[in-house]
Amino acid sequence: MGFLAYGDTGWGDELFYATLMTIAVAAAAIFIGFFLAAIFATFKLSKSKILNIIGSIYTTVFRGVPELLVIYLFFFGGSSAVMYVAKIFGYDGYIEVNAFLTGAISIGIISGAYSTEVFRGAIQSINLGQFEASKVLGLKKKIYYYKIIIPQMLRLALPNISNVWQITLKDTSLISVTGLVEIMRQSYIAAGSTRDPLFFYSFAAVLYLFLTFLSLKIFNKLEKKYSRGH
């Protein structure tokens, strides 16, 4: 257990910060995903054919191509795009783009493809009669959305959002290939310097299990909260 000591002699503190990093990237990614999903779900539901096609291309490509390939696209593509701009300003060296940003964006785009389908299903399931009812009651549009539509959508979408979150959380392990020090990368470093990969990768597995277990508990609570009255 000396391996996990907190401080200079062990890897406890490093792994603790790495776990926080995993949570931070996953959270950033899922919010980027929600933002994209809000846009592409509207595209998919719109009457315009072109927007429908754009929406479908987005969800098909990013759910059908391996996550790792997408990460490589943004990892190498991001820095070459920045280097291209730097060249215009006369700088001619290698620039590496922030690994956190690369990771959050690439995982976020993948997560968004899954969320788009979730949002679309949730929006479609809401009865249009409610819009008319709230109009008759004289509710403002803002109140209509916040008090009537969103709570109902959340109830239906929460189990699926929970699934997307689990996928996103596990996908963050792939960002380790870009050098961002999250759980996997930190375990790799620790395994290399102690020559005990079995211990550190198993410990990484335990950390992920803990995170997925914890998020399941939180989502179960939320689901209960939003399904009162049902």
């Binding site: 191509v65 375990s187 990969p197 079995l198 277990f213």
Partner: protein, 225 residues
């Protein structure tokens, strides 16, 4: 464009490995999945919990961790290195297949389990009153119904596994993603290679999608033929 034409044969060569890994893992994974799905219905508490935690652990951790534990971790245990298992476990190829098989087995076991659970009790009673024995009931009644039930979800799992094989590149295998990464990191032209490799993956996703659709129609007993 030149780069795309130049790298196309390399990527096609790598695709063979990707297909190989996908098919082998799915093939072995089906048996693992059925095995654990049956264990899950067992009345013996130990079997039930063994199957429950197996699927919980493999579905709750990233595939990358699973590959690393099997490839880097197991090599550390001395008795494994001295046993016949070492012939397989020193090779990244068999380690990757082992990890993929165990992973897809966990997901499939959940799919098969829920398929077995949704079988109508009346059907089983009918089989009993017709005098079918347990083995016949399983192979002639339960299994075909369960296959039909699980097809849509299993199709998704096949696509996830196809994408999952890209992780083989992290243990030095040169599959489609591995070769794509190699070309990108030497040419710094990620977009062209992403389009090319991505299209190959999408082509196979499309094929899987349609095969499943075809099978769903074939196993659809409810509609009149």
């Amino acid at each position: 464009m030149d780069l795309m034409i130049e790298s196309f044969p390399k990527l096609i060569n790598a695709t063979i490995l990707t297909i190989e890994l996908t098919l082998l893992s799915l093939f072995f994974g089906i048996f693992v999945g059925i095995f654990f799905a049956i264990l899950r219905t067992s009345k013996v508490k130990f079997f039930y919990f063994f199957s429950y935690y197996y699927s919980y652990i493999f579905r709750g951790t990233p595939l990358l961790v699973q590959i690393f534990i099997i490839y880097f971790g197991l090599a550390q245990i001395e008795w494994i290195r001295e046993s016949f298992l070492w012939i397989f476990l020193k090779e990244p190829y068999s380690c990757a297949i082992l990890a993929f098989t165990l992973n897809t087995g966990a997901y499939s076991s959940e799919i098969f389990r829920s398929a077995f659970e949704t079988i109508n009790k009346g059907v089983l009673e009918a089989a009993k009153s017709l005098g079918l024995n347990k083995i016949n009931t399983f192979f002639k009644i339960k299994l075909p119904i369960a296959i039909k039930q699980s097809l849509p979800a299993y199709g998704n799992e096949m696509i996830l596994m196809l994408k999952g094989t890209s992780l083989a590149s992290t243990v030095t295998l040169l599959d489609l993603t591995g070769v794509a990464k190699h070309i990108i990191s030497t040419t710094f032209r990620p977009i062209e290679i992403f389009i090319l490799a991505g299209s190959i993956y999408l082509l196979f996703t499309f094929i899987i999608h349609n095969v499943i659709k075809f099978l769903e129609k074939k196993y659809d007993y409810n509609s009149v033929k």
